[in-house]
Amino acid sequence: MKPAAFTYHRAESVEHAVSLLGELGEDAKVIAGGQSLVALMNMRLARPSALVDVSGVRGLHHMVLEPSGELRIGALVTHAAIEDYPLVIPGFEILPKAAALVGHWPIRTRGTFGGSIAHADPTSEWCLVAVLHGARMVIEGPGGSRTLGSEDFFGGPFMTDLGHDELLTEVVLTEPRERSAIREFARRAGDFAIVSAAVAYDIVNGRMSGARVALGGVASVAVRAPAAEAELEGAEATPEVFARASRAAAEDLQPPSDLHGSADYRRRLVRVLTERALADTLAGD
């Protein structure tokens, strides 16, 4: 379990990182926290010829709540920084709860928000939150910057639209919601979830509005559950409605079967976890 040979380059700035990536060619890779990449390299499943270390780059550690209510998260913000963030971020209360579900604490102190999004694991908590909150990914490349929504950014398991010479610098979470919750099931604490479910909605005139349900572990990327959202939208937040929405969430799905869970089991987990996440949104009532 030793990586294949590679060269190491430390980027001083976003521009420097982008130019290094351009110079070093297609087989170079960004390394941020290294919590996914180093394991892959040790197993030689990834064999970059060069690493561009962005962990020393300044200006990517911010969390900024815009007047519009959107939240900008710098790519290098660690999972632990979000988990331990001292203030409540209105509209995005799901963040620290989701952060606590990412791996184990030592991993959270190094692994980054941007690294998780760029790595695009189908059950990553941050990919789920990105889908839930209609995230925009801000990307810097040789030709300047561009922005992509999550539908266009995520291509499949471990696949994104990022070019080899591009850097993800920031993720903008949109659509703040008054109430939100996340549930997942893993065999062991800290494991990637078999299935995860996140929900969010506002209450307008006593009814749910802007309802969102996002699911992980049921497709090649995190997905929304439109049928469940439709059940919630405009309805009162009651256990009966939640139960109907959870059933609807599961009905649409053709999840994969693998070592960790069959399609039937994943469907059951979707129903159970969606319902529990929805119930969690009433916990404060």
Partner: protein, 799 residues
């Protein structure tokens, strides 16, 4: 009372000052401050790093191995294949028993590969990364054959042969006890038949296997992460054509073994062979991936049982067929028969079974080979028998505790010889059961369970009883027909001129804390402090010939040998002190580092003064005494039985099928407890491992024989987060078969836990008619079965 002068093997002494104390471990300071020294730390200049090229297919014929590209990689010094090792015969484990087929494990795959992960070549380079570069450049061409991957597949017939010698893939088929049970079963009130399946697990010691060898012209030094240094020495000497005095095997600090290191690995032999062949020091350090797919596994069995019961639930007869998937090779020296013979030989466990028939079968498959794994078949037989009793109780309408009371070996039965011809020494079978039930609140359980069910919660309570034979002596191994009979062990206790004590012994700790427990035993015998006693193990140049540590043997066998040797030394010290103090040896008391005349503490001499004279001024010794202070003794017991009852309360999440363990109670009896902290630690680790077998761990193979659980992301070794707190209780029935009264207890936790957790899980879903007869029990299995049984579209809220 003090009887330090009691002759060796005489009455057990009772005036313990150190034995029984919860002393913290003498070895821990070094281990916890980074001063441990493991095989990977051995640093000899010029060492080459070895990396094995392993077969990527489970079964096939090797058509060719091309090493040219590998030799061109920077830093690669050599690539070795089976052709280069033609002079080594390979490892052959022997058993003189009808129905056993002898097979050989070549050091490297020769013409065929038998599992994915089997070593086919070795690359040696200046460092590990470059050796891995070389390994991926070796091109192995294999004509793949269909893989044999399961017991059921072999039983159906028609699978290809893993070994030519065994066309039906059966390496052992042995009827240990034949008895025609038909008439007894016919006249029994109830006959239960049951099949129980247990998953394949791998031990995952914190430190994987590793070896470092160097050859100095006519002598080999091999550091290796082993439980059995002398066995490795014998194997290496044989494979290399050396006298054993030309081989020094050292087990430095060893980070766990659990049985995986009590057999001889081909990799450690190869490292030794290459050190001589290349005349360069060679090191191999196994990585986690290799440990999972290529090291020794265990515990995959199918039990098919038929048992008769009276209307009162008393067992009338029991027959069992035990099928063990032993993988691709028979491990040296224990052979692949170790699991089937143990299972069929000891299945009745703590229960009185009047008529018994048992057959043990070893099935070879294209999977990594097996070795004894902590508990060796007793976790499986305990699961099998306890599932049987739970089912019989349910069908007869008898309380689960009551059916056990009616079948357990009773106090008046000891020594009890069962239908399996095993003789059990005294234990606390009934007492431990009652104590465990009381702790669990068993009498109030039905109410609690009912209440929980009414709230939609699935709570279960389980408990199991078992016996654990420990300290297997020579006759047991000889009785099995083993060519190697690792029964006895030896200790030498010496006092140096300053009064410091050194114990050398053939047992070999790899985490068990012998440096502490053996020091406690010897300190009491000699009247010194444990901190003055140094225990040396694991270096064949320094310790007497012995068999190492496995099978819960060390405290029974090595501990007795040390106790006896220390007793002999105490006698000599008493004689020398008596001479100086002008008293009778029988009146000498050894205490606090000196010898005094009983009743007259002022008439005393320090042990250091006696020790000085015994070495440096021998003119002061009595005329008939030899110089020096050293005594040696050996011990070879018939085996002694520890016992325990485990109890657990679990809750199943009906939505996800996740199981959480609310309480875990152990009431165990391992005789005289030498050190309660170490006993508790062994129980904790063992139960954690057993819970892992019950709920988490299982090697999974696809139809091609590829291991699908090749990393710790997929092979679910639980963490501290999944393991509950334990409630431990101890009973002490001193053993008749060890000098200290101690019984072994290294495996009990692992033996009881799988059955206990399963029993609790089964209880939680008993009202839904869900069978739980296969481990690991997965959340998926439970959730889908609960869903089907309740047909409940809304599995309900739960936190």
């Amino acid at each position: 009372m003090d009887d330090t002068a009691t002759p060796a093997g005489g009455t057990r002494w009772t005036g313990n000052k150190w034995v029984g104390r919860p002393m913290s471990r003498l070895e821990d300071a070094a281990l916890l401050t980074g001063r441990g020294r493991y095989t990977g730390d051995i640093d000899v200049p010029g060492t080459l790093e070895a990396v094995f090229v392993r077969s990527t297919v489970a079964s096939g014929e090797i058509l060719g191995i091309d090493t040219t590209a590998a030799l061109d990689r920077p830093g690669v010094q050599a690539v070795v294949t089976a052709t280069d090792l033609a002079a080594t015969p390979g490892l052959t484990a022997l058993l003189e028993r009808e129905g056993f087929v002898t097979t050989t494990m070549p050091l490297l795959a020769t013409d065929g590969v038998r599992y994915a992960g089997e070593p086919v070549a070795v690359v040696l380079a200046s460092d590990r990364a470059r050796a891995e570069d070389g390994a991926e450049s070796v091109v192995v061409e294999i004509a793949e054959k269909p893989a044999v991957i399961s017991i059921d597949q072999v039983r159906e017939g028609g699978a290809g042969a893993v070994h030519e010698e065994a066309p039906d893939n059966i390496l052992l088929d042995s009827t240990l006890f034949s008895d025609d049970l038909d008439s007894v079963l016919e006249s029994s009130h109830l006959v239960v038949t049951k099949r129980v399946d247990t998953g394949r697990v791998v031990a995952l010691p914190m430190e994987g296997r590793s070896a470092h060898a160097h050859w100095d012209g006519d002598r080999l030094t091999l550091h290796t992460s082993t439980q059995v240094p002398h066995m490795v020495r014998s194997a290496v000497a044989e494979q290399m054509g050396l006298m054993e005095n030309q081989v020094r095997v050292v087990a430095p600090d060893v980070g766990g073994g659990f049985g995986q290191k009590c057999v001889v690995a081909r990799e450690e032999v190869i490292v030794a062979v290459l050190a001589r062949m290349l005349d360069r020091p060679v090191r191999w350090v196994e990585d986690r991936g290799e440990n999972i797919v290529a090291s020794f596994a265990g515990h995959e069995q199918v039990h098919e049982m038929t048992a008769g019961f009276t209307a009162e639930g008393v067992l009338t007869a029991l027959s069992t067929d035990v099928w063990c998937d032993v993988g691709a090779y028979s491990a040296y020296p224990f052979t692949c028969a170790v699991e089937p013979l143990m299972a069929a030989g000891e299945l009745p466990g703590p229960y009185r079974v009047p008529r018994y028939a048992a057959r043990g079968v070893a099935v070879t498959t294209n999977k990594s080979p097996t070795a004894p794994y902590r508990g060796v078949s007793r976790p499986q037989i305990t699961l099998a028998v306890e599932r049987l009793l739970d089912e019989a109780a349910a069908r007869l309408g008898i309380d689960r505790a009551e059916i056990r009371r009616r079948n357990l070996i009773r106090p008046e039965d000891f020594p009890y010889t069962g239908a399996n011809l095993v003789t059990y020494d005294a234990g606390t079978y009934g007492e431990s059961l009652e104590m465990c039930l009381a702790e669990l609140g068993y009498d109030r359980w039905p109410e609690r369970q009912e209440r929980a069910r009414a709230e939609g919660r699935l709570l279960g309570l389980g408990f199991v009883c078992f016996s654990e034979r420990t300290g297997y002596g020579t006759p047991v191994f000889a009785g099995r027909g083993m060519a190697v009979t690792p029964g006895f062990d030896t200790a030498v206790v010496a006092m140096d001129p300053t009064g410091g004590v050194t114990v050398t012994t053939g047992v070999s700790a790899h985490g068990q804390g012998h440096a502490t427990t053996f020091a406690q035993i010897v300190a009491d015998r000699l009247g010194v402090e444990p901190s003055q006693v140094r225990v040396i193990e694991g270096d064949t140049d320094a310790v007497p010939f012995g068999w190492g540590t496995f099978g819960s043997r060390s405290i029974v066998i090595g501990g007795s040998a040390a106790h006896r040797a220390a007793g002999r030394l105490a006698e000599k010290l008493a004689r020398l002190a008596a001479h100086r103090l002008e008293a009778a040896p029988a009146d000498i008391v050894l205490e606090n580092g000196s010898a005094h005349v009983r009743g007259t503490p002022a008439r005393s001499v320090s042990l250091a003064a006696i020790a000085h004279d015994a070495h440096i001024a021998v003119q002061h010794l009595p005329e008939d005494e030899e110089p020096g202070l050293e005594a040696r003794d050996s011990y070879d017991p018939p085996g002694t039985f520890s016992n325990a009852t485990h109890g657990a309360i679990v809750e199943i999440d009906p939505g996800t099928g996740g199981v959480s363990i609310e309480r875990y109670v152990v009431v165990e009896d391992c005789g005289v407890v030498i050190n309660p902290l170490i006993v508790d630690g062994q129980v904790h680790g063992g139960v954690a491992q057993g819970i892992a077998c019950a709920l988490y761990e299982g090697l999974d193979f696809d139809e091609e024989g590829q291991c699908r659980t090749a990393t710790l992301m997929d092979y679910l070794m639980p963490t501290a987060m999944e393991i509950p707190d334990f409630e431990l209780h101890h009973l002490e029935t001193p053993s008749e078969h060890s000098s200290t009264g101690a019984k072994g207890m290294g495996e009990g936790g692992t033996i009881g836990a799988p059955a206990c957790v399963v029993s609790a899980v089964a209880d939680a879903v008993a009202h839904l008619g869900i069978p739980v007869d296969r481990i690991p029990v997965t959340p998926q299995y439970l959730a889908l079965a609960i869903g089907a049984a309740t047909d409940n579209p809304d599995p309900g809220e739960q936190t």
